[in-house]
Symmetry: D2
Subunit: 462 residues, 4 copies
């Protein structure tokens, strides 16, 4: 690597950037950064300026001399970078709002990672990430790509499968949360427990042992169901069925509630949709507030409010990953990475999310062994759904998207699902150039997009 480390952050105008800066400052001794390039697109120019100034203030307040470069020129940012991080959002929060509101109008979950929303997010994001990979091949062929553009698992799979780029690690803060919250439930410190995760992004399970190797998974599960367990009340407000976890003998991730308590999660989403707005709308409000804060020329540290943004620990995971690769630290992390057999129920060449020791070679996955019947079956259908989505993103084939919708367990198949899909195509037309012909055909059919709040919703509500 060159003198100091060069970081390029695609989507640098994101509200997360200060968290990323905090993480880098904290790790400067082991990760001697010399320059950080924040790159964004024309539409994000203003936010980039605000957050970029804020980032520079944070470094200036630190003992370290690091220069923040702000640019709309991706090539300049990538040139000779050592690490590229991706946190961009094609179509910004506006697009995610549509991902959630159009399904909601029809009484359906939008679910921005694995549901209809997640499928369209992938369709928008995959072509861009593959462009970035092509740039990297030219401009920084030795760099590591640290992805936290969502849906993180599918994006990482696209990078490996279609981009043919293996120096990539996909990140998510969900596993970090579990490992931070659970130990306290059974009176332990995080370093007294041994974790083993397996599955896909937002669709994984884990087992926990104490440091003598005794399985304590069921102990943690029991504590989850106790009244005064000290957990933030909203975290388990729609609990898993105890009977199901007893059979499973593993802990599912929070997103599994969409699959294991589909009915209640749908009710909850529709209630928000009709009252305080969908999750994306709430996040947008928070973001607006955050950017107001960032404008304050006196603010030179990560504000408390960012924590509530939803992606807590996300950037921390990114910084730790980068430092672990740079300093060959062999840190245990949970990452999206090429399987290589770690989850033997899936092909060795697909991307999974597993516990890995991260060091100079990237992720060294911990082999999990075969999953029990129920989880194996569901994992296999979810991976198929992911592969169809990614393939469609590359080929622009409408029928393949229809197949992804059909096999997605969150989407009841039929005319409403197809209608939702068609509206999403039209709603996102400027971000789906590969589907140009399809979308023109749909528009010619006179399909209207319903992203207002449905007045007929009390009829829909289950």
């Amino acid at each position: 690597m060159n003198q100091g480390v060069k970081i390029a952050t695609i989507g640098g105008g994101s509200s997360y950037t200060p968290e990323l800066m905090e993480g880098f400052i904290k790790r400067y001794e082991e990760l001697p950064i010399s320059e950080i390039w924040l790159v964004d697109i024309e539409a994000g120019k203003e936010k980039l300026a605000i957050v970029g100034a804020m980032a520079q203030r944070m470094w200036d307040a630190s003992p370290y001399d690091v220069k923040i470069h702000l640019t709309l020129d991706r090539e300049a940012a990538l040139k000779d970078a050592d690490f590229v991080t991706t946190q961009f959002r094609v179509g910004l929060l506006e697009a995610r709002i549509k991902d959630e509101r159009i399904p909601a109008y029809y009484g359906m979950l939008g679910q921005e990672t694995n549901g209809p929303g997640g499928i369209f997010k992938a369709l928008r994001t995959v072509p861009i990430i593959l462009e970035i990979v092509e740039d990297m091949k030219r401009l920084c062929p030795d760099a590591w790509l640290i992805n936290f553009a969502n849906p993180s698992g599918m994006v990482t799979e696209a990078i490996v499968r279609y981009g043919k780029w293996e120096k990539v690690i996909g990140l998510c803060n969900v596993p970090v949360m579990a490992t931070m919250i659970e130990p306290a439930l059974i009176g332990k410190n995080p370093d007294e427990l041994i974790y083993k995760f397996a599955g896909l992004n937002h669709f994984h399970w884990h087992k926990v042992a104490d440091n003598h190797g005794n399985d304590v998974t069921m102990d943690i599960i029991e504590k989850m169901y106790e009244e005064d367990n000290g957990l933030p009340k909203n975290i388990f407000d729609i609990p898993f069925y105890h009977e199901q976890l007893e059979q499973m003998k593993m802990i599912p991730c929070g997103y599994h509630r969409y699959y294991y308590r589909q009915e209640e999660m749908l009710e909850h989403a529709l209630e928000e949709y009709q009252t305080i707005g969908t999750r994306a709308q709430q996040v947008k409000q928070t973001e607006t507030e955050l950017f107001e804060l960032y404008k304050d020329p006196a603010l030179n540290y990560k504000p408390e409010q960012l924590q509530q943004r939803g992606g807590a620990y996300y950037s921390d995971a990114a910084c730790e990953t980068i430092a672990s690769i740079y300093a060959n630290k062999n840190t245990q992390l949970v990452v999206s990475t090429k399987n290589d057999g770690a989850v033997p129920d899936l092909p060795a060449d697909c991307v999974v999310e597993v516990t890995a020791y991260v060091g100079g070679q990237g992720a060294r996955n911990v082999a999990f062994g075969t999953l029990p019947t129920a989880e194996r079956g569901w994992l296999q259908v979810m991976k198929a759904m992911e592969l169809l989505t990614i393939e469609a993103a590359v080929t622009g084939d409408y029928n393949t998207v229809l197949q992804a919708f059909t096999i997605n367990p969150l989407i009841p198949s039929g005319k409403t699902a197809k209608r939702v899909m068609d509206e999403l195509f039209i709603a996102h037309k400027e971000y789906l150039p590969n589907f140009k012909a399809t979308i023109e055909k749909l528009m010619a059919e006179g399909i209207e997009v319903q992203d207002q709040v449905a007045s007929h919703l009390d009829l829909i509500e289950v």
Copy 2:
């Protein structure tokens, strides 16, 4: 084999029995039957007497001297049998009516083969079939078991996996229907087309070629969508999405409409539920009429009305299977059988439904090759659902049933699903001895079974 062939039919009092007799009479020259034992339980005694007399009249009207034995003594029937056929229905149609009506009350599909109804049908049936297998080990260890007790695929899997009995073939009339109807669509005779099926019972796909080996699957699909294709109007009244079949390049089975057009199938089921009654109720009406006909001492041939019963060709498939084994005929049939690699996306030791050449050794499965992504994923989750159901039937574990419900793509998970499940447990309590403790607990909770027509249903309807 002994002098003449001995057939034992468990559930001999079924309305299908005359069709079975017709099939045997037609094939007597290649399958020289000497005796047929129709066995049933106390509750089916009367129907056994009626249908048994009718069966004897059919043989008496034939040139062949075959004796029908009617008995409630299963052991006597099995003793030295060459072929055992199973067509029993634990709890009779009354149980199936509950399988359909309880979910319908909550606005959910009952689906008596792969849905909630099918799961409970398997829970009731698997323990009985395993008892029969144990009897066979003692009484007719060289016999072949030809199963068409439903859900046929799960029952066959239980026989192989838990019964450790390999001389079994599971049957279904669905593939037969496809091979009879489709050729005419493209102006061919059945023997001019080459079929290859793969999947699970009520969950398979097929490809078709002409006898020069040219794939004609898409030609048939196109014809399915033409206005005047000559098909009975009800068969494709809820068609698959053309776009989906284009991507698939295979023809799904009729039951796939539950998965590919879940919304419409649910609407249709709820409409019937509130008007003419669920499918089981309709079948019960037909059965009552059939038994009235069977009482006529002048009737000595299969009446036309049986054809409309729904299981057309079922018994024909059974007779052809038996004759093919007996005479080593190498007939092409679609059967449930141990995979052995024919569907490489599933383990070699599980049961699949595939094209096979049936002869003296049973089924010689045609290797289908790997399935495309979408079908592979769904097949894997469905097989997991089946395995969980069968395991639960054997162990009596409530939690495992909950897992089967949860991963079943036809069942939206959550409180309503659990409620439906709990009511089904109580409704079938006399047929689920392995779940005695569970059911007592549920009853103690005061759960009431809702199998009346729901007065609140206009609220539920989607």
Copy 3:
């Protein structure tokens, strides 16, 4: 297909051609051939003329009007062909003689199909077959390729894997022999037994059942070891260990003696090498005699002597395969074909040799199920050896050939093996254009080819 069937035979000057003609004449009613093109290369011109005239005489003596075309122009022969058969031998028998004699000089088995000789035969043959496939794509894209150029399994694998041509069936007479000889051992006719083969070309096993489905494999094995079993004495003159077959409960093919009785087979080969000449030398003598016979303008039928040529039934298998495809006969044959799961211990996309029903769509493989431990292990290493050889044939990589030699269980690794390999490269230099640089380097090292009889052999003999 066009009016009458057009057959193109690459390597038409082979001594087998009359057998092929006999097979076609016998099947004319179901396979109405209109023209046969025999194509060969300049070096085979004279033999082509002799055997071509003989072939025309055979048809003229038949009731059918079929024209034999002789040509050195492969394109003309392939143009609009319905079936292409390949029976060519790159470098003729002279090359095979070197394949056998160079290893023998060093006390090693040549083994022209799976040993060092077979590896070099594949290296010479694969590039040519891939050229033919490219021609077929242009000139007869709907034709079937029926390959019996050896090593038949590797050549077929190359056609599917690198040629991307799926309408191919690879043939071998070894399984035919087994099904003709074995029934008599237990007093049965061939049509009273049910065969199931699995493995690779010259490396497969089979199980046998009677037509009631009872396994009779061990009965046949027992008879093989009886003194007066009526078998030609030379067939089992080096028998398998009875103990091994007891454990296996399957019948290996004759070529397995090279693997199961390596020591004795080597002794036998070396003895022939020093006395009557290697197998190829013997065959060459027979061929010379055959061509003398063929010259006789009165000979218009297959002479008896051809039977002893070694490939008995080979051409019969080819004709039966072609007729079965043409008339969609669903004949049971043992063929090299894409696995598709039939042998679940190998990848679904590689070529295996299995029982299949051959009809309009080509081979419909019978799923064999998993193999026992010993056979599974060996099958997997042999398939790896085949894949390395084929890859090397395409890439021209010397090191990959060295790996194929090293893992081949017939070749003791080390300096002698490498020397044999290097000499074989030089000996076949004109037929290995992909290895031009390698061979020049070896020649520059002054390596001399030892294909004379070794005077030092009593030192070598084990």
Copy 4:
């Protein structure tokens, strides 16, 4: 775990014991041992006394108060043990001498781990280790079993597969050696390189990267072939073919020379056999000398000569493994352990030898990913050979041993191999009770064991 750690060492009279003691003393601060039980059998009583006294002297010379218990009562030793280490040798070095000399008499490699010798070593050892596991289930059900009884991989597989005991780690010093020697070749310290191993015991490959993740495997390979690379001259005196390693792009283990240079390794073994004695004879001499040293009441440290014993680092690996489990250290080690997908070319439930992070839960295997064609094929046949050997050890089936011999790539199949096998059965008759009937039958045939030096050997030599 109880107050202090209790270690039980089966085969405590081994000459390795002082090394084990040294390792424990060095790690006392992290592994606070309170008692060590050295257990041996009657035949080893004298050696146990000598080495036991020596062990006690070593602890007495340390700052720690640890009591050595010497016993012939295995149950007393196992009772409440925290760690059980196994280093016993059924039949002592005398048995290994026969394993080597009988094959050598017939010009065949004995190879005490994977060759004929290794097969018989496993046949002797597996039944004993399964007895120990049964004892552990009763006496110390929470203990970890650290096996370094050879053949370590097969013994570990037997413990997991037949003993159903998962808390086991199998060890070998071969990978340790590689990681100690190789870094210096390219001017690095061991902690600057990242290793990834995959395969089976004495049959694995590895890849190496620097701590920036750059693959340096080929750099190390190049240095191995340089004249003045500083390596002990005997280590690479029979080098691998450079061309082979170029194709492999991995480094094989030293034992691979038996497979990749079989001819030269056989020559070397036969030369030793005829001159200085086989490896076991040499080791026996060293052992005799070591025990002479151990008798010295002044000796209270591991003598230099032990280093040359051949198993250098073996005990160090064992002590580090135990300390890592006890203190949840997550140390990178190469161990035999249940695959769980780490080597996706082998079943997830078999034992492999891979890089793992060892901590409180035992081994967390690093997923290696699929192997290249050549290595995959050979790995699969070797695992099959192992499984057959272990199965035979449990069932006592002669025919299964014959199959293991036949598929073993080190053994040329045929009459000599079978003769060697039969003699080995007789030679080890007292240690093979499961094969009693077989051996009596062989003895009745008058087979004589040839373990003297063959006078006819100049005839054999290749």
